[in-house]
């Protein structure tokens, strides 16, 4: 044990940082994973409908599902071109 380790407060360990980062990342990734299977299809079909009326690129439409308590929020974002 290094003698300096006995004095003062050690700064947060790197293992603790790893644990925190993983907890946040994995809970986020699990939420996406648990999303319904139809989400990509839904996104594609909505995109097709929007395209019938406005010229938008694929990346100008985003769709996401957020869970807040016992409710789910489906969020659709379409960036319309200037004119």
């Amino acid at each position: 044990m290094p003698i300096f380790g006995l004095f003062g407060r050690k700064k947060k360990s790197s293992a603790a940082a790893a644990r925190e980062r993983l907890q946040i990342l994995i809970s986020h990734e699990r939420q996406n994973r648990l999303g319904p299977d139809f989400l990509p299809d839904l996104q594609r079909e909505i995109l097709d409908v929007v395209k019938k009326y406005v010229a938008v690129r694929d990346d100008q439409v985003s769709i996401r599902l957020d869970r807040e308590g016992d409710a789910s929020v489906l969020e659709l974002n379409v960036t319309l071109p200037e004119n």
Partner: protein, 271 residues
């Protein structure tokens, strides 16, 4: 009916093949007829770790394509009578693994009287890996206490829970966590995720903790499963893990730093 155990991890280099060899040998040692299959088509290595590389004539893919019979391709281990190895193909394309073909080989092994079929998964989440986990009854998730390995293990758990045959039929694959390359000293110093951290994050039942050990390289150098090195820490830790898998209750060993003498402590020595 044979029990299919898939050894998987997502990430490469964490110890899947070492663990597959050790688990297969451990199950055979305990008296179970065991076959271990290398699913890493194109990059086979289980043969080398098991020390049978010079005896491979036919392989997994040649059985699936009908070029050889399963009997011709199975390599009987010379140390353990109950253990057989099915090597991966070194040349063929990984698309050669079809769900139907893999299913037939597993069924044939079961019909031959094998009690355990260990599937050594390749890294990644492509065909070889998904085929390896498709028929799993049990999955051993091999994880290093390190961020990218833990994340990839979680990804593989997601695939097990959605894409495996059992999951698709509304059931569940039994999951077991095997932490490898564990360094208790570094954990003690806060430089490495602890086994509790990894268990909490992945929420999978712990099957064993294998310490970082010189015995593992020594075993692969000479081509024998490290579990047969009964004097080594890694060998003993694998034996414990296999015993736990078979339902025995064994305490964890090699998870606390070795006690250092006063002398080496002041010199900052020890390893």
């Amino acid at each position: 009916m044979a029990i299919v155990v898939t050894v998987t991890s997502g990430k490469g280099g964490v110890g899947k093949t070492t663990s597959s060899a050790a688990i297969a040998a451990g199950l055979a040692q305990a008296g179970n007829r065991t076959a271990v299959i290398d699913f890493d088509v194109g990059l086979r290595n289980l043969d080398l770790v098991m020390g049978v590389e010079r005896r491979v004539v036919f392989d997994f893919v040649s059985v699936i394509s009908g070029e050889a019979s399963l009997n011709q391709a199975l390599i009987q281990d010379k140390r353990l009578e109950q253990l057989s190895i099915l090597a991966a193909s070194q040349t063929k394309d990984k698309d050669a693994l079809t769900e139907e073909g893999v299913g037939q080989v597993i069924k044939q092994l079961a019909d031959m009287g094998f009690e355990y079929i260990i599937c050594d998964s390749p890294a990644g989440i492509e065909r070889g890996a998904t085929m390896a986990l498709h028929f799993a009854d049990h999955a051993v998730i091999v994880t290093n206490p390190e961020v990218s390995s833990v994340r990839d293990s979680d990804r593989i758990l997601g695939i097990l829970q959605s894409k495996s045959k059992r999951a698709k039929e509304g059931g569940k694959v039994n999951e077991h966590l095997l932490i490898t390359r564990y360094d208790p000293v570094r954990v003690d110093h806060g430089e490495m995720l602890s086994k509790e951290d990894v268990c909490d994050i992945l929420a999978v039942k712990l099957m064993g903790v294998i310490p970082e050990s010189k015995a593992v390289l020594k075993a692969s150098n000479t081509g024998f499963p490290v579990i047969l090195d009964a004097e080594s820490d890694a060998g003993m830790a694998y034996s414990d893990a296999v015993a736990r898998f078979l339902g025995e209750d064994r305490p964890l060993r090699f998870v606390a730093p070795k006690k250092q003498g006063l002398f080496s402590r002041f010199l900052g020595g020890g390893d």
